[in-house]
């Protein structure tokens, strides 16, 4: 057990200065950005980071990384967060690609995916299937050396920027469920791929993507025909925080940590509001015991979120975010209810925005109910639900 500070050596301190200098030059942090996974770096920043191997910094230099040790990698992660650099990278995909991709495909796509110059989006969910991923109906039919893909995928977030879609397609019958699935890495530029924006509450952009007679060569197939369920299980597990806890990382998994940080920023912005005297009373709201109580309650839940195990971190953090976004917005009413830009707005409307964003967090990346189903069987050993 250890929660102590890590002494940094001269080389590590120099690394911090280097990162700060690069970010000061190529990136303007936006304090209004509360959720880093809903923003995209500029092409300039992607190039700067890719050049330094900082998109997958732990990978070896010849693998597009920077060969950083765990301490430097964590420093980079903390600095990216502090400077509000959007979450970006292919770390969930690369091990799967390495394992299931053909030599030919890897030679073609891996260099840019490893450096981070190329990116991907997830093609799991469909208009008629979400949590029940294995019910996917987007169909791939073999035609000689090629596959012809027809169907649609929902919530393909970042499809408008991505170079590839990691696509779960049906190659068998619908009755075969998860045994009839195959995964493809489809280049987004392929003819017949269409991206249409879908805008969520709070202006959060995602997409629906359509696939009309999209032809891809067989080399874009990942894993065997019918092995799709096995192929998606690796990236799904990583996304859900199933990797072993890292003593330098966040206990509560990637999404749990991201939502917890969003809540922490929300608290800071509410404090910014609370320390300024209310024009009507002349008193700063922070002197009101009820305001202090609501803020302290949020801080307690942030500590609880940070203490939650990875498999449940996302569920706990999304619930805490929803609860406290509502409570903190309530404190700032009525001015806090206004959008950013409206006369008399509070903190550019970010507290009101968080309330709109929150409901998505217990759905995307797997609904809370799916997590509970999995944990009921996996952790508590309970029978399959009826």
């Amino acid at each position: 057990m250890n929660f102590g500070q890590i002494e940094l050596d001269e080389r590590q301190l120099a690394f911090i200065r280097d990162v700060r200098a690069v970010l000061a030059r190529h990136w303007i942090p936006d304090p209004d950005v509360l959720a880093l996974d809903h923003h995209w770096p500029t092409p300039e920043l992607i190039e700067v980071l890719a050049e330094r191997g900082w998109i997958h910094p732990c990978h070896a230099e010849e693998d597009g990384g920077a060969g950083l040790g765990p301490v430097e990698a964590r420093l980079l992660e903390l600095l990216f967060d502090a400077y509000r650099v959007p979450s970006y990278g292919n770390q969930f995909l690369l091990p799967t690609l390495d394992r299931y991709g053909s030599a030919e495909l890897k030679a073609e796509v891996m260099p840019d995916l490893k450096s981070g110059r190329a990116s991907f989006c997830l093609g799991y969910t469909e208009p008629d299937s979400g949590s029940d991923m294995a019910a996917a109906r987007t169909r791939a039919i073999r035609d000689g050396d090629e596959w012809v893909i027809n169907g649609s995928k929902m919530f393909t977030t970042w499809a408008q920027q991505a170079d590839y879609v990691f696509l779960l397609a049906r190659t068998g019958t619908v009755q075969e469920k998860h045994r009839g699935l195959t995964v493809f890495l489809v280049p987004m530029r392929t003819e017949g791929v269409e991206v249409r924006p879908v805008i969520g509450m709070g202006g959060v952009r995602t997409n629906v993507t359509y696939y009309r007679d999209v032809r891809v060569h067989d080399r874009y197939r990942l894993g065997g025909v019918g092995d799709g369920w096995k192929v998606v299980s690796g990236p799904l597990a990583s996304e859900h925080g199933a990797d072993a806890p890292d003593p330098l990382g966040d206990l509560n998994g990637p999404m749990g940590a991201a939502f917890t940080r969003t809540l922490a920023r929300l608290v800071e912005r509410t404090v910014d509001w609370a320390i300024v005297p209310d024009p009507a009373t002349g008193e700063p709201p922070i002197d009101d015991p009820l305001v202090r109580s609501a803020l302290t309650a949020a801080l307690l839940d942030i500590e609880v979120c940070r203490s939650t195990p990875p498999g449940y971190g996302k569920v706990a953090a999304s619930a805490a975010l929803a609860r406290h976004a509502e409570a903190l917005l309530d404190l700032t009413a009525p001015a806090g209810l206004l959008d950013g830009g409206a006369p008399g707005t509070v903190e550019h409307g970010v507290i009101a925005w968080a309330r709109l964003f929150a409901p998505a967090t217990d759905i995307y990346g797997g609904t809370s109910e799916m997590y509970r189903n999995n944990l009921a069987r996996g952790v508590l050993g309970l029978p399959r639900p009826r």
Binding site: I28, G203, L251, L300, E303, A316, W353, R372, V379
Partner: protein
């Protein structure tokens, strides 16, 4: 325009126990699960203590575990104490392990040669603290006070050791906890001055933090024990032709409870570590850990009772033993109202740093002209 350089802090976030700590935990779990079945818990309700269990715990070197070796203890730290109180809490062991250990550690840290320390490590003298004495004058409701021979309290800034010929009677409560009133002004009570001034206050602050994490851990163990009962019941109880565990209303509840317990344990461990190693860095953590443990334990036991259906509310159901204790143990030092006040140091630090940033104009100030309409215009 000056722009603030965002600050970062690099720390370990490592919850793994050492080999020795794992071994201690296994020994504790085995000892308490074997020696404290629910029949014994029930049998001890009138006396507030199971004397034979207390002796057995002494012989197993569990009572002196976290006391200094000079006093006859095993010299383990706060983390080991937290492991012990969790395992005792898991089976509701009717022994005042946490109160006694915290009081003995306070006495040892103030007066290492005090005559009561060796008998305390040997379990012949039972000690307790009056956790609210620094804030409220007059008679004190002392956890473990009905089985204690001596009680430490902070009165007018003086650390006093109170002794009585025999402990006061139990103040009846739903947990059958050995709570009792100790009155520093009672002429039948002998008061010995242990420390005064700054030393007294500093040591007291440490002891209260220790009491909070030890109690948070006892409640975590209690909640874990209740979860186990509810899980087992859900597998054996059938309804509509299947075990009730197959219904999501039950299984999802069990997952929520289990995860709340895991988080409560981790937060308690983190609080214990900070309190032992850097008590000034996160002074709110012990209060936060206890605050969370109280709400976790009360929520877990209430919902575990519910999973047992009508049977759960009967006195013969073991889960009712847990529910009765969950509502009392952690609140003996004042409820959430006082704990929240203690947790406000976390808010005070954020307020101070945001005020400083705002005053120096150094608040992170990027292209915040960003205007995010809630109902967006259709993107081009």
């Amino acid at each position: 325009m000056t722009r603030a350089e965002p600050q970062i802090e690099l720390r370990w976030d490592d919850y793994t126990l050492s080999r020795d700590q794992e071994d201690v935990r296994q020994v504790l779990r085995r000892f308490f699960s074997v020696n404290s079945p629910s029949e014994r818990v029930r049998a001890a309700e009138a006396a507030g203590i199971d004397e034979a269990l207390w002796r057995a715990a002494v012989d197993a070197e569990l009572v002196g575990l976290s006391l200094p070796d000079a006093a006859g203890g095993q010299n383990a730290g706060l983390v080991e104490l937290v492991l012990a109180t969790e395992e005792a809490g898991r089976v509701l062991a009717p022994v005042p392990l946490a109160d006694h250990a915290v009081a003995a550690r306070l006495l040892a840290s103030t007066d290492a040669g005090h005559a009561l320390l060796r008998p305390a490590a040997a379990g012949d003298v039972i000690l307790a603290v009056a956790p609210l004495s620094a804030e409220q004058r007059g008679p004190q409701l002392v956890p473990g006070g009905a089985v204690a021979h001596a009680v430490l309290m902070l009165v007018d800034g003086n650390l006093l050791l109170l002794r009585r010929p025999r402990p006061p009677a139990i103040a009846a409560n739903q947990a059958a906890a050995p709570l009792a009133w100790w009155d520093p002004d009672d002429p039948a009570t002998d008061a010995e001055l242990i420390a005064r001034g700054r030393a007294a206050r500093d040591r007291w602050t440490m002891a209260i933090g220790e009491w909070r994490v030890a109690m948070a851990s006892a409640l975590t163990g209690l909640a874990a024990g209740a979860c186990d009962l509810a899980r087992a019941y859900s597998l054996e109880r059938g309804a509509f032709g299947a075990p009730i565990a197959t219904y999501q209303a039950i299984s999802h509840t069990l997952v929520e409870l289990h995860m709340a317990v895991e988080a409560a344990r981790n937060l308690t461990w983190r609080a214990a570590w900070y309190h032992a190693h850097e008590p000034g860095t996160r002074p709110e953590l012990p209060a936060m850990a206890l605050s969370n443990a109280i709400r976790t334990a009360t929520d877990v036991t209430a919902r575990s009772v519910h999973i047992h259906g009508g049977f759960g509310v009967t006195l013969e159901a073991d889960v009712s033993l847990y529910h009765r204790r969950a509502g009392v143990w952690g609140r003996v030092a004042g409820g959430q109202r006082l704990l929240e006040r203690a947790a406000e140091t976390a808010l005070d630090r954020i307020v101070a740093s945001r005020r400083a940033a705002s005053a120096s104009g150094a608040r992170l100030n990027g292209p915040s002209a960003l205007r995010r309409p809630a109902i967006p215009v259709e993107p081009a």
